[in-house]
Symmetry: C2
Subunit: 225 residues, 2 copies
Amino acid sequence: MGKCEQCIIKQFNSLKTLSQEELIRISECKTSRVVKKGEVIFEEGDSLKGIYCIREGICKLTKLSSNGKDQIIKLVVKGELIGQRSLVSDESVNLSAVALNDMEVCFIPKSEIMNDLQKNTAFTFDVLKEMAMDLKEADDIIVNMAQKSVRQRLAETLIYINDNFGTKSDGTLSVLLSREDFANIIGTATESTIRVLSQFKKEDLITTIGKQIKIIDLEGLKRVE
Amino acid sequence: MGKCEQCIIKQFNSLKTLSQEELIRISECKTSRVVKKGEVIFEEGDSLKGIYCIREGICKLTKLSSNGKDQIIKLVVKGELIGQRSLVSDESVNLSAVALNDMEVCFIPKSEIMNDLQKNTAFTFDVLKEMAMDLKEADDIIVNMAQKSVRQRLAETLIYINDNFGTKSDGTLSVLLSREDFANIIGTATESTIRVLSQFKKEDLITTIGKQIKIIDLEGLKRVE
DNA sequence: TTATGAATATGACATATATCATATTTCAAA
DNA sequence: TTTGAAATATGATATATGTCATATTCATAA
């Protein structure tokens, strides 16, 4: 199994602040796991026994609304940690994590992480910093949900995915989502999402190849009202 | 001026984890200030030079949407800290803080807080814990905004205020908000808020005395769809 | 007390979005 | 390759909510 102290993935998250010895200790108790597309990593309500470091792939963090619909709160990619919030506040997880493609994740037991959180201020501070960023993003999402139209939210979601996760060689968005996933991100009906995508096509803002989406007028998308 | 080490307010926030010496140091550099109803404590985009501890009163944290409307993200009351997120991520604040009634706040300079964040793990961890709670609440708000009707969101807001901030002796909600404030919390037009409040009155879920609101059927409000 | 502007309230209408029905396409399994 | 289920697409219609106009009430200063 790979060694944490040599793993380049940790550069992208708070684990980078840990010392060589701390990383070796983690390396000795961590477990690695392959998660197939569609598989659940953890589910809302689970009590987590540790956190996950994503070595490969993408997953969605979702929350079930009381009306039975799933809301996607965040997309999480290679390099990021998931499960910290629940560990820190010592509660069951408030979100489910579901793989959007085949993934490889490392599981680090709670005891090891909590130990580092108690002894390594730099680590704690970095986790805090990341959470502060998450909170700011959440605030932005609240405003968007409350104040913007479905058209605007879909345009911004496409731009967000383009800017943060990039495109494939053919120009299509590298994160492949179903229309239903898009609907669950922007908080609307699947049909509405499909309809607005059709409008965007007619307006030459995007093209689609099957379920793949290619942005052809990024500036135009930014101007969508 | 009051002394932090003797102040009971700190029991309600992360400052409680600080040592006597740390509190005395803070006490020596903090400043106290009265904020009148409607006054701005800080504004979106400001770079904060410290954090605020609320000794008395209530304020709203708002964010301006690109369409020009204010969204209220959170109500903050006596005992809580504001400004930590911005300090931690070393960015300008992403929210404005506006007094909803006359307040008394203490300002603690950045340098002092950052010093404690670097040296006192218990303090850092407690700030982290609070932020984890904020993040969870934000996730809940996102789901509500995305999936629930204005009617449901207003009902839940009334319940939230009732449960978290209580009522006066006459039974009216102790946090007094304008209809516009309610609209800005639930992300709707002021007229819609007023209309739904009228419906609630007709359905004997609430009564109003001027702008004051009194819940008369809490269970009924919980069942609103 | 009266006067005046702001907040609250309500109606009429416009519009965005949801819902339900039904094609059509895509893709994987047989 | 064929087949069937799931995903995508589009139409028709219902409904919630926004917008604009206009009363009405309330609070506060003069």
